[in-house]
């Protein structure tokens, strides 16, 4: 386990994160909802090209931390910077965020959903985005599927949602419970896909209750307890 100070700040000189460039830096971040503190004084550095698995019980603050990194929430106290000196809100187009909800339109097919999101990102002629068909194939779905997302199973929605996030080729990928409702084979496929993604010097943060599923790609395991950073352990990635 890496050292964590009383305020939850892991000492920089002892962190292996310092060996690679940082992609995100949280400094004493707290987030209050009314009088409830979802996050308390969390400080952590995220390095480029690493995969962080965020563990914790329900209400530990995992999703809040992810939403703060995505720029969808502002911290009540503390400071967050991504990509060296940007606020997450200003760099959101470089961040991919997959919530536990699919973030897709039920009335459109998977391909139509992806094409829509792709069109919102770049002019097609100078696009750095993935082709919707390729993105769907990467997550193991058939692009020719004519059913609308509303008729998909939960697992298929989850995979389409991952394809949605991958389509913009983000540098920082934030995944909230990506393995829920997925069968073992699909999880294995998704983990291998994420391993490829990480090898492109992109950073992944995954929240999950199923530690063992994310273990093959986990460079670091962060545990939150009641909104506080409890531990930051080095993982043993096999992929």
């Amino acid at each position: 386990m890496l050292p964590v100070t009383e305020t939850g700040i892991n000492k920089p000189e002892q962190s292996p994160n310092n060996l690679t460039p940082l992609i995100a830096h949280l400094d004493s971040v707290s987030r209050l909802f009314g009088s409830f503190a979802a996050l308390r004084q969390v400080s952590v550095d995220l390095a480029r090209g690493k995969c962080y698995v965020l563990l914790g019980e329900n209400g530990a603050g995992k999703s809040t931390l992810l939403r703060i990194l995505a720029g969808l929430l502002r911290p009540s106290v503390g400071e967050v910077t991504v990509f060296e000196d940007s606020e997450p809100r200003q760099a959101r187009h470089r961040i991919g965020y997959m919530s536990h909800a699919p973030m897709l339109y039920d009335e459109l097919t998977g391909r139509e959903n992806l094409q829509y999101y792709r069109d919102l990102y770049t002019r097609p002629e100078r696009s750095g985005c993935l082709n919707p068909d390729d993105a769907l194939r990467q997550v193991g779905l058939d692009p020719a599927l004519t059913r609308t997302v509303g008729q998909y199973s939960q697992g298929m929605r989850q995979r389409t949602s991952l394809a949605r996030v991958l389509i913009s080729q983000p540098e920082l990928l934030l995944l909230d419970e990506p393995f829920s409702n997925m069968d073992v084979e699909s999880v294995d496929q998704m983990v291998r896909l994420l391993a490829t993604f990480r090898s492109d010097s992109r950073t992944i943060v995954i929240t999950t209750h199923q530690r063992e599923l994310a273990a093959p790609i986990a460079d670091f395991i962060i545990t939150l307890k009641a909104g506080r950073l409890h531990s930051l352990d080095a993982g043993r990635p096999s992929l």
């Binding site: 187009h93 919530s99 339109y105 009335e107 139509e112 999101y117 919102l120």
Partner: protein, 240 residues
Amino acid sequence: MTTEPSNMASQSSAPAWTSLVLTHLRKDLRIEWRSRDAINAMLFFALLVVVLFSLAFDPSADTSREIASGVLCVATLFASVSALNQAWARELRHQVLDALRMTPGGGAAMFFAKVLANFFYVTIVQAVLGPVFFIFYNLRPLGDASLLLLVVPLGTWALVVNGTFFAALSIRSRNRELLLPLILFPIFLPALLAMVLSVKTILTGDGSDPSFLWIKMLGGYDIIFTTICLLLFDVVLQAE
């Protein structure tokens, strides 16, 4: 997965504004075409109001011309509110709005496309409602009927632009169905008044507004409120 991260910043610049509007609009129209939620709800409600009013009043031709503009505008208003309340429901479902907040384009294009889509739905309803209305109220405009083609779209735009904006504003409220009319009606009142009086002038042909003051007011109202809503929508969209 071949794109290098270092290239992403330059590549992820937003597309042109008009292209973004068209992307959002295409999506909204496609979804409505498949579900027909908004148009069906509005059409049913508006027809019901028009038929009920015609039965309740049993008006003569002269009385019809006096009250018809009010009935038409109020029927459109109530019917539109039922659809506008649901204008952002699809974006709320499955947290789609969060995904849209993460895209680089900004909210104004999304808002403008939603206004265009809602305007299109309300116009379709009015196109169906108009002939029914003229038959049930036995109407024959005594003024310049072609001006209706200017007045009705201007009034509809005023309703839709404000309704879409305030529907987004009340999106996170538990009582949004109640909140929208409470905010929208007072703001829309000047435009409603201008629309009713303009339509009445056209139907009765009384020549009480020779310089088209009400129509000019509607135009001014539309420009001011469209600009304000476009400028403020990003603030509404990014609210936590």
